[in-house]
């Protein structure tokens, strides 16, 4: 069985590793000169920055991505963050994430416990936004700010744009898989290791090759056309999202096309800092609910010092984009950093923004439409087709798992 994979991002490489291990003849086509997509390292001034995602796996060594990496035999060391996350309060003090309930008066604390237990069992129906869901039970500034900080950091969305059922699925997954971890060597170590597996199983990865067409006959894909050359395939997997993929063949399914129109991507801004003295001092997430724009920050060199030159730390902040004025959004993020670390010295390495054709998520969380298409042997993986409750790359792994189940690869 021959499989053509469009895009060598995390989703494409995970699918390729899994299928090549199962005996499929795998060929991956990547239009850029490097592999890994938005989960690759970006070398700059001796730092290992990243093309997109932060060097962090939301559920660390116990999560869906780590599980999948182990299954395919990828040699990646994941250092679980300890503490998993810390919240910076309004007065500048920090508390551990798991202690956030202690910030609430006793009556609210008890109510939150009851409501959460009930809602995790019986998830809210429909698309009630997380913010409205909170407001139904609580009028509490701290909870609302924490919700925005959490959704912004994890999903690049504000709480008003995130469906409550999706956040509750995520909370379920946090109980199941626990908190984040940092892959030693960064994002690039993960995608590099997957590429090695594909090659060692006889698969091929082509860079600088642009797929321009998916060849469809009836309801089945027969192959693809790349750089003008036809390549036959029994199975086609696309890592470039539903919408972009649908433009590569004539899609006649009106219901599917209707769903495509509703897909919204999510945008974000990542500011990369270099410093001599640590700004955070631990390997977990620092949630910043009282900052104007920044949702959270991590300092990955506390887990893997080799991500920065000797003696330096690498810090990355993340914020969802809340308005159309990108430059003013960035300015607000920079001013947040000044306020958060008033006495610290740091240098700005890069300010990276993501939107439109190169977003944080091709389909914002809770708006995913699954992994199948009207073409029976054409599947979508990646951040445009994540699994339920899957934060970022964990969702990518869950999506790949869904596709493997459909194909019958265990």
């Amino acid at each position: 069985m021959k499989v053509a994979i469009i895009g060598a991002g995390l989703g494409g490489l995970l699918a390729g590793a899994k299928l090549s291990k199962a005996g499929y003849e795998v060929e991956v086509f990547e239009r850029l000169p490097f592999i890994g997509g938005r989960f690759a390292n970006l070398e700059y001034k001796g730092f290992k920055l990243s093309t997109g995602a932060l060097h962090m796996m939301p559920h660390g060594s116990r999560g869906p991505l780590a599980q999948l990496l182990r299954e395919v035999g990828a040699h990646v060391t994941i250092i679980d963050s300890n503490p998993m996350a810390v919240i910076r309060k309004e007065n500048g003090e920090s508390i551990e994430f798991n202690d956030f309930r202690k910030e609430l008066p006793v009556t609210k604390r008890v109510k939150l416990g009851t409501i959460l237990a009930y809602s995790l069992k019986f998830k809210p129906k429909g698309d009630i936004p997380f913010r409205d869901w909170i407001l139904k039970y609580f009028d509490d500034e701290f909870l609302l700010r924490l919700a925005d900080s959490f959704c912004g950091w994890s999903l690049s969305l504000s709480a008003k744009d995130t469906p409550a059922h999706e956040v509750l699925e995520i909370i379920d997954n946090m109980y199941r898989y626990k908190g984040p971890g940092i892959p030693v060597g960064g994002c690039g170590a993960v995608t590099g290791s997957l590429a090695d597996i594909i090659s060692s199983n006889g698969g091929r990865i082509h860079t600088k090759v642009c797929v321009d067409k998916i060849i469809v006959d009836g309801d089945r894909a027969k192959g693809i056309s790349a750089n003008g050359k036809t390549i036959d395939a029994d199975l086609v997997i696309s890592d470039i999202g539903h919408t972009e993929t649908s433009r590569m063949y004539e899609c006649r399914d009106k219901t599917y096309s209707g769903k495509l129109e509703k897909i919204r991507s999510s945008g974000g801004i990542k500011i990369c800092l270099s410093c001599d003295e640590p700004l955070i001092g631990h390997s977990g997430v620092l949630f910043t609910p009282y900052a104007e724009r920044i949702n959270g920050i991590n300092e990955v060199t506390n887990a893997d010092p080799a991500l920065a030159p000797p003696g330096k730390h690498l810090v990355m902040s993340h914020q969802a984009v809340l308005s159309d004025d990108l430059r003013s959004e960035i300015a607000l993020g920079l001013s947040d950093l000044k306020k958060l670390f008033p006495d610290k010295k740091y240098e700005i390495l890069f300010i990276q923004s993501y939107s439109n054709g190169w977003p944080v998520n091709r389909a914002s969380s809770g708006g995913d439409i699954g992994n199948t298409t009207p073409v029976r042997n054409l599947y979508i993986v990646g951040d445009g087709a994540k699994g339920k409750g899957g934060i970022e790359v964990e969702g990518v792994a869950l999506g790949v798992r869904n596709v493997m189940k459909e194909i019958g690869v265990g």
């Binding site: 970006l42 920055l49 600088k208 890069f350 439109n356 190169w358 977003p359």
Partner: protein, 53 residues
Amino acid sequence: MRVSEKCVGCCQCAAYCPYGAITVFGAALMSEKCVECGLCIAYCPVSAISEGE
């Protein structure tokens, strides 16, 4: 090099530019250090860079 409005500001061009000629603040900006080598074109994920002033 010319940068179109398609640029999202991801910095891939800036990281790969051998001349350190690109700064990014929401979008890429080419400085006078640019020698028009065109390397950045291939690294742009949204095809926002083309030859020309």
